[in-house]
Structures are given as C-alpha cells and as structure tokens.
C-alpha cells in the first residue's frame, strides 16, 4: 500500500513488532483519559498468568501472578 517493500515504519526499523507498537499506543491513550474512565481502563491492562520454574527437569509449584504493566510510563 504505502510501502513497496523498501520503506518500513519507523518502529519496525527499530526492531519493534506491530503488537508491541499497538499495545504502547493503546496504553498511552488510556493514560490520557479522565478520571472514572481511566481507572476502569487501567483494569483492562492487567495480565494474569501462572509461572512455574523448572529445576532438574521437574516443575516446581506454579505461582499465579497478576501483573499490571504500564508499557510506557510517564516518569
């Protein structure tokens, strides 16, 4: 469309995937919202996952983690 195989978007050239770019854009937009909407939307960024470390070929007890990550935070 815009590129003929030569020009790539600047984030692709810097080694970023589209998924990461899209998630960064979304989290920046969420951080600019007004108050009631902002806290609702930050709950959407939560990632829940369970991690189990493997030692000597055996999995240890899995740990359930809830991670709230602001991908790009304003310091």
């Amino acid at each position: 469309m815009a590129s003929s195989g030569g020009a790539v978007p600047f984030w692709r050239a810097a080694g970023m995937t589209y998924v990461r770019y899209s998630n960064i854009c979304a989290s920046l937009v969420r951080q600019c919202l007004k108050e009631p909407y902002r806290s609702e939307s930050l709950s959407r960024e939560k990632v829940h996952f369970s991690v189990s470390k493997w030692v000597d070929g055996k999995p240890e007890k899995p740990v359930i983690e809830s991670l709230i990550v602001a991908l790009v935070s304003l310091d």
Partner: protein, 195 residues
C-alpha cells in the same frame, strides 16, 4: 416466447452469480475417488464444505454502509447501517461510502467519525485495522476507541511535552521509536481535542 423463458431465466441467474468466485462445496475428484472405493458410504465433509461462499457483490451500489466496529472488550457498532465512515488510515483520513472499493487499511492514532443522517459520532482510535469489503460491509477493529470528550487536555499536553523531551535525549533506536510513538499519539490527541 414461452419456450425461451427457461433459457432466459437460466441466463439471468448465471449473470447474478457470475462474479462470485467458484467455491465448490466439495472437491469433485476426491468424491469420485471415494465413490470408487466405497460407493455405499457418503464421502466425508472436507473443510471446504464448511466454508460459506463469499457473499456476492451486489450489482447496484447499496444505499447504506454496514459497519462492524469492535474492540477487544466490547463491540461498539454491530452491523450498523450508516451513510459514511471516515477512518484515520496511515495514508491519511479516508472517507468510506457505500460502494467503496475493497480495501484493507492500517489505522494510525486519530479520529474515526461515523456519519448517520445528520449525526456524527467521533471516537479517538489508538490503532487497528479497517477491512472494507466489496459488498459495502466495513469491519473496523481497534485496540482502544474512546469518545473524544473522555480525555483530559492537561494530561495530553503533559504527555506531549514529556515525550518530546524523551525524543531529544533518546540514544538507542528503541528509545527513539518509543518516544516517537509517544509524540505521535499525543499530538494526534491534541489536534483531536482542539479541532
């Protein structure tokens, strides 16, 4: 006259479906090979049989555009008939009317406006894709789409200043890219809130 009627009818039917690509519901050579081996069993259905054929492009342009606008957590518009949608594509704002040529557009942070009669609904879209089909259906998918009145202008200005600063002091490619994304998003938000 009456003798020719079936032939005329057949010809007009053929014309209506002429532009649908031939999607056979069953692979005929597979069916024949199956019948040779066990003629008593029905041939199994292949994935091709489960696919619904592409809906035919109507011969006259429909009067309304049907829009499906979805976010990961909810659907904003589900098969809504509208007059026009203006989408913020990477190649610029694109107006989509009924009868638009089939297009896939990548969206950039910007305003998506839905025009229905005299009312206009505007959303700020963070990024996503718009698929416009030949039969005047548009599927728009976005990660975040927020009505413009839900933003806080001071936060936007603050963010813009922060990222412009980050862009100036960025050293690695990745930092520069992240800062550039921040600047793009915040300046799009700024112009959205202003205009």
């Amino acid at each position: 006259m009456l003798r020719l009627a079936p032939r005329l009818l057949r010809r007009s039917l053929a014309r209506t479906f002429a532009d649908v690509p031939a999607t056979p519901t069953q692979d005929s050579s597979f069916v024949q090979a199956w019948q040779k081996i066990n003629p008593n069993l029905d041939p199994p259905k292949t994935p091709l049989a489960f696919m619904t054929p592409r809906p035919p492009t109507p011969s006259s342009i429909p009067s309304k555009l049907t829009v499906n606008f979805v976010l990961p957590y909810q659907s904003e518009l589900a098969s809504k008939e509208v007059d026009m949608v203006i989408i913020p594509a990477t190649t610029g704002h694109m107006g989509v009317l009924p009868g638009h040529v089939a297009t896939i557009a990548e969206l950039r942070p910007g305003i998506l406006s839905v025009h229905e009669g005299s009312s206009v609904t505007k959303y700020f879209v963070s990024s996503g894709f718009a698929f416009i089909h030949a039969n005047s259906f548009a599927d728009i998918v976005a990660v975040e789409a927020v009505p413009v009145d839900r933003f806080d202008p001071t936060l936007v200005q603050k963010g813009l200043a922060e990222f412009q600063q980050k862009l100036a002091i960025a050293s690695t490619d990745l930092e520069k890219a992240e800062a550039q994304i921040g600047v793009d998003v915040h300046s799009a938000l700024n112009s959205a809130l202003a205009g």
